[in-house]
Subunit: 683 residues, 2 copies
Amino acid sequence: MDDLYTILVLVLGLVGIVFAFVQSLLIGRKDEGTPAMKDIASHIREGAEAFLNRELRTITVVAAVLAVLIALSVGWTQAVSFIVGVISSALAGYVGILTSVKANVRTTAEAMKGGIKPAFNLAFRGGTVMGMFVVGIALFGISGLYWLFGNPLLMVGYMFGASLVSLMVRVGGGIFTKGADVGADMVGKVEVGIPEDDPRNPGVIADNVGDNVGDCAGMGADLFETYAVTLVSAMLLGKLLPSVFSVYGNAGIQLPLLIGGIAIITTIVGIPFVKLTSGWIMGAFYKGLAVTAVVSIIGYYLVIRYVMAGALGLLVSSVIGIAVMVMMYIFAEFFTSYQFNPVRDIAKKSETGAGTNIISGLANGHKATIVPVLVIVTAILGVFLSNGVNLYDISSGSFYIGIYGIAIAATAMMSLAGMVVSIDTFGPITDNAGGIAEMANLDEKIRAQATDPLDAVGNITKATTKAYAIASAALAALSLFVVFDVEMPSSVVNGLLLFNPLVVAGLFIGAMVPFLFTSYLLNAVGVAAYGVVEEIRRQFREIKGIMEGKAKPDYAACVDITTKVALKQLALPAIIATGGPLLVGFILGPLALSGYMFGAIITGFPVAIWMTTGGAAWDNAKKYIEKGNFGGKGSEAHKASVVGDTVGDATKDTAGPSVNPLIKVIITISVLFVPLILMFHLL
Amino acid sequence: MDDLYTILVLVLGLVGIVFAFVQSLLIGRKDEGTPAMKDIASHIREGAEAFLNRELRTITVVAAVLAVLIALSVGWTQAVSFIVGVISSALAGYVGILTSVKANVRTTAEAMKGGIKPAFNLAFRGGTVMGMFVVGIALFGISGLYWLFGNPLLMVGYMFGASLVSLMVRVGGGIFTKGADVGADMVGKVEVGIPEDDPRNPGVIADNVGDNVGDCAGMGADLFETYAVTLVSAMLLGKLLPSVFSVYGNAGIQLPLLIGGIAIITTIVGIPFVKLTSGWIMGAFYKGLAVTAVVSIIGYYLVIRYVMAGALGLLVSSVIGIAVMVMMYIFAEFFTSYQFNPVRDIAKKSETGAGTNIISGLANGHKATIVPVLVIVTAILGVFLSNGVNLYDISSGSFYIGIYGIAIAATAMMSLAGMVVSIDTFGPITDNAGGIAEMANLDEKIRAQATDPLDAVGNITKATTKAYAIASAALAALSLFVVFDVEMPSSVVNGLLLFNPLVVAGLFIGAMVPFLFTSYLLNAVGVAAYGVVEEIRRQFREIKGIMEGKAKPDYAACVDITTKVALKQLALPAIIATGGPLLVGFILGPLALSGYMFGAIITGFPVAIWMTTGGAAWDNAKKYIEKGNFGGKGSEAHKASVVGDTVGDATKDTAGPSVNPLIKVIITISVLFVPLILMFHLL
């Protein structure tokens, strides 16, 4: 049975990849528009590829060194596993880029010919390439490794590899995108006085490249990692706790794989339901999501019935996981859409200046944390209770059924990643499409009536996806933590008391890490922007005739300088993420490391939520004012809202979303090195 | 022996109060300056008293209701204890106000006559009134209650009363001060174009009243509460764990009292050493602090030798406590003084606009968290190790010696509060003195050469005191948590495992609370400012001749409206602070409540640090630019830095410092109600 299931899932993973490939071919058939559009698109494509190639070189070096270290310290299988994780994660990012630079210009062309509906369809099709590829490659890799090794414990390296690359792509891309954006605006809009996306600005291609490397590659690698870590942690629990499951020995390992496999099919079923039938763009997405979710639940019921002897608690767990996803969508839309009070309130506060805009946005972001936290807590307790766990005696076997339920809830939630990523990637594609329309001097209507309304929705879906990713991270982290526990001798585990000084020390340090980590990312945006500004100024000074449109700026040089700065700024955050747990582990020992992990999760969660949600709210508050409210464009309120938008860009696109891979790197590296840490630690 | 020691400490508490009283009399003898100065000072005094009286009425109502509830649920002794705590905390705030409104105008007069040195002396003397009164009244109340009840367990109500009032005074004062400040500036500087502290601005008195109610009353009540909670938690541990101490049964209870008593004398010894001999104002403070610290350590050695049979580990603990204080001073000065890179970097980033100023300040605040966290962690582990605790077997008795060591470290640290508060209160007094000089149209030199340099140092000492308070809160919270534990049956305590779902749920919710709580405070500043703006606009409209100086504005009306708004905005944060732990406790039970407390502490600590330190850095970055750097006053960089200053005002004076009493209210109310929660909880 075991091999049969594994091969089935392997095939379903391939189905996802093939589906993505076919969608990509269909996109390629579409028209690329005018020669000017083609020219611009090729610049963006070249820039994006240049960035990614250089980043992949950096990743290769780091990964090679780490692979050797892992092989020497914890064995060669984990090293192989690690390399597969690295390659898959990088592939997810790479495909994300390739798709979006292909779909962006064609979306512009569709908008030019047929308006918002065909543009929507093409952009969403671009999204599905990314979405299905991410889940397909993950499922393929995971089932392949399991088939090869027969033991999920040997796949910890895979999780770490996926997390590490995701961190690097997220952080590097995040710094690049905002550095280029802020830098291009600072010289273009402020100093020279030309509009955004004006082709005379040497930084304009870098800015559009940024949308691809940050929002597509970064998000793709991030969601791939989240998906992979979630699935493998569930498999790990299934492996470590076989006695609590009934049908056959490896059922607990297969269930997460089968859930992922089913969702490949249900996502393909749901995709055609995403159709723009009214003005409510989010509505189209909700329809596709609802169909996928409902069909998935039926599929989960069947699998749980036959593979897990109908353990109803697990079915409830999977439904809770999907409910969490739904709640995150509703939550993020409420706190970031200008149709609701939070964003309108920030817009109103902008009337009294940038100071009150910032205070209000910060307050809004902080307040937003309450919903995801209560959702997660309710989900955690709900899963345990529905699996019949006695919460006052967690030494009994029932606790493990509960924690496995958490892992299944997270898996069910993440199994819909194919759809969620499809919806998300749609955003940066339309953003880019709008930029191309502007740069190619197309009719203003194309932006106003097609790409801009789609782009505004992109802001909401981006915030949603980040909330979704970090919420699943909280659940997955909890299950991985138990894996970490099971690896330790029971004498150590029994010492994991909340008031143990070592645990307390770990909690304090861990809770500080998201602050320290984001501080470097926030600053890095400034450093990168400064580098771009210098280069743009140099070009305006040295290349005569740019402003008159007689000479072409050197776009590639801007991309190159941003790439260099972004990769350089990546070093310190990456060292904090990987070095922190090892330092704490080898110096303060396993108890402190446990506290460290928990501290990082429980603080990282609200920090990520406030930064991503608050940032999107600042952005949309500006957009709300630009629609003519509180004085509209050019008013004092608008100027104040631009300040909030700048701050929000750094929090929502660079610092905030990097917290999810940060947490994953911390936990996976800890799980990987815990045998070594148990042997050697100072205290 | 027990009574003898208690009476000795009671007398030493009285000595502190008498010393404060004498200093206050000496200040009263000084000249109040010109009639205009007297007039302005009386307006400020009346406004401050009006605010405090109204706030005390609110406190009386809330306290009366709670006292009845406590009497009915946990017994009348705790209710009496609670009332004593409430009254003492309110007294500390009240005396703070009375002193500062007396010292402010006299400091101006001294500056007028003799320049910076006599002004420094008088302002510091004003500080000592507050400093010695805070520690005197605390020590008097604590030893008095212990003499009366003979049992520190009956003093949990006292701690809760102190914390609650501190929270209300801190929050209420914090909202008042920034609401008045921002509101007065918004109409005065921006709309009407008159300088800061111009007597024609109807909000100018409210602004100066705010400095007193926020920085003096708020800080006084806060430090009183921190001092009281720290001492009583140490006594509680001494009571609960008598078997681990050697000399006599109650030695563990007496040691904290004696440490406090000794510090009264050593602070009086240290005060004369605070003398301005060079241009380095912080140097004068460091001298006084150093003398007090060294003499105190000698005193602690003697007490520990005779009362605790020379338990050297405890002496080391007390030295570690004092070392933490020293580190907090160095840390806060580095991150908030414009002599060092962090502030200069924010100033430099202001050149590229308000957005980069905000991002840089946020990054700086986030980064600052690393130092206090590492200091606290090192202190915690250092105390345990120096007391010979086996960190992998905390069920042994040695653990309790260690946790008592933590309590003693915190007590030693807080015992110097007399000196720290003296240094801190000096700041708002000189701030007010500068304002009076401006309003009374005195020679500009008085501000430039005397009060302004003193005020700039005040920004640093304010940040220091807040870091000091929150650091001691972290230590005290840890000891109180163990008290909470000891109150629970061991079956529950043994379930306090880090990965218990209830503990995890509590951790997640608790970690979110500092974000939720500060979100209301940040918004409240805006609401209060808006109320002030409306009133000032009304006066300019309805009272003819204000701008020409022919008619006097109605200062009292502005004070009144700010008071009303501030007290109204106080309700929700107070409900979150008190209601949160009760809800979690009665619904999710004691395990979740434990997690909740820890979550709030480990997240509240970095949130408080970034907000207070980051805020002070924004403020001083503006001051650095105003000194002529990066374009000086009126430049684009200056405009950007004003935005940062506005945001920093809300974080450093309202939201950030309220986190300390928030944590204390959460823990003390939990300890108070844990017997009830153990009996009734839903899960």
